[in-house]
Symmetry: C2
Subunit: 213 residues, 2 copies
């Protein structure tokens, strides 16, 4: 029943590049930031629905598989769901097509009122105007004995970290320098003191750092 977060960050701590535009909602540098993750076999299978069997199968893929294991509910922000990029589209159903890679109830934190959106694979987006604590209580009900993921975006993750609600934080650090953008750890001085921190290097050059308690 842990609360888990997994994010990609640059060596300078940026989790969301600065150059986001409507046409390029993740920013031009996003590709460099997540290259090693999106190259994994698990990402290709679970997110891209690519069943060709291609993709890397090393350390990065092991973390990629673990990402999807044992999660009973997910929490995300309105921006991650896409409300900020497509504010005027009443039929918007998220970025992920008709097979979102969640398969569980997903609480979308938003001030907007919206009916639930359900998919055949078990994914159900539910829209909630709530504090992190309230959203987590709801997610725990759905997750039962399984874990809750706080998926993103960065500002939502930061609010859960600041509130002390995260039990396991895994950051995949890509050795790239973005120079600007939204930093995961700003003003979270001493965050590490509440966790046991361990690191692992990948063949890809990525550095996996895990904060666990």
């Amino acid at each position: 029943m842990a609360v888990r977060v997994d994010l990609n960050i640059s060596l300078d701590g940026v989790a969301a590049p600065a150059d986001q535009t409507p046409d390029n909602p993740m920013g031009e540098d996003w590709g460099r930031l997540v290259a090693a993750y999106t190259a994994t076999k698990t990402f290709r299978e679970r997110v891209l629905h690519d069943d060709s069997g291609q993709g890397t199968t090393g350390v990065d893929d092991r973390y990629g598989r673990a990402y999807f294991e044992g999660i009973g509910a997910e929490i995300m922000g309105a921006a991650m769901f896409g409300f900020h990029s497509f504010p005027d589209d009443p039929d918007w159903r998220g970025w992920w097509g008709e097979e979102p890679p969640f398969g569980v109830p997903v609480i979308v934190l938003t001030h907007r009122e919206h009916a639930d959106i359900e998919f055949d694979n078990g994914t159900r987006f539910e829209f909630l105007n709530a504090t992190p604590e309230e959203a987590l209580a709801r997610a725990r009900e759905y997750a039962g004995d399984l874990d809750v993921r706080v998926g993103g975006g960065v500002s939502v993750v930061r609010s859960f970290l600041a509130a002390g609600l995260v039990d396991q934080l895994h950051v995949m650090v890509s050795p790239v320098i973005l120079g600007r953008g939204v930093r995961l750890f700003d003003e979270l001085r001493g965050l590490d003191l509440g966790y046991t921190v361990s690191s692992e290097l990948s063949e890809s050059g990525a550095i996996h750092v895990t904060f666990a308690r």
Copy 2:
């Protein structure tokens, strides 16, 4: 004849904590940031003149030893020398006592005019009002076939990185979160693209990342 930089940074990219005061010129968090480095046998011998033989001898110490090898001249800023902390002390000779751990000519970048300060162990502080390029030209004269170190502080290192003058950058990343302070990589977007980047984990938990060209 490479230009080399070695710095300690936090996992959030901070190289100089925010909480510097005259009484605590490196900041309260400095100890956490450099703990694994200052625990090495090499640091204790070379900087603290502790010949007891104590100190760690693993990966961190290997980088610590390499730090002192092959350097023919050093460049540092006025703040690192201590001018900003002790602006009114005409007898200030740096933080390092009578055996500064350099043993080579050290160019201190400052607007202040000051006579050279020499020590028996070969260290000579020379004060220069110059651009990074000009300072480097002078340092290369002194270093001959050896390398030039840009020692710090962070703003001086950043100016050399921005000018493309650094051939090898080694950062010892401590898995601590400082949350604020002077970040090494701010606005240096894409810095990594000019280098081959490699990483190594230490038993201490530190992550050594080297940018080389």
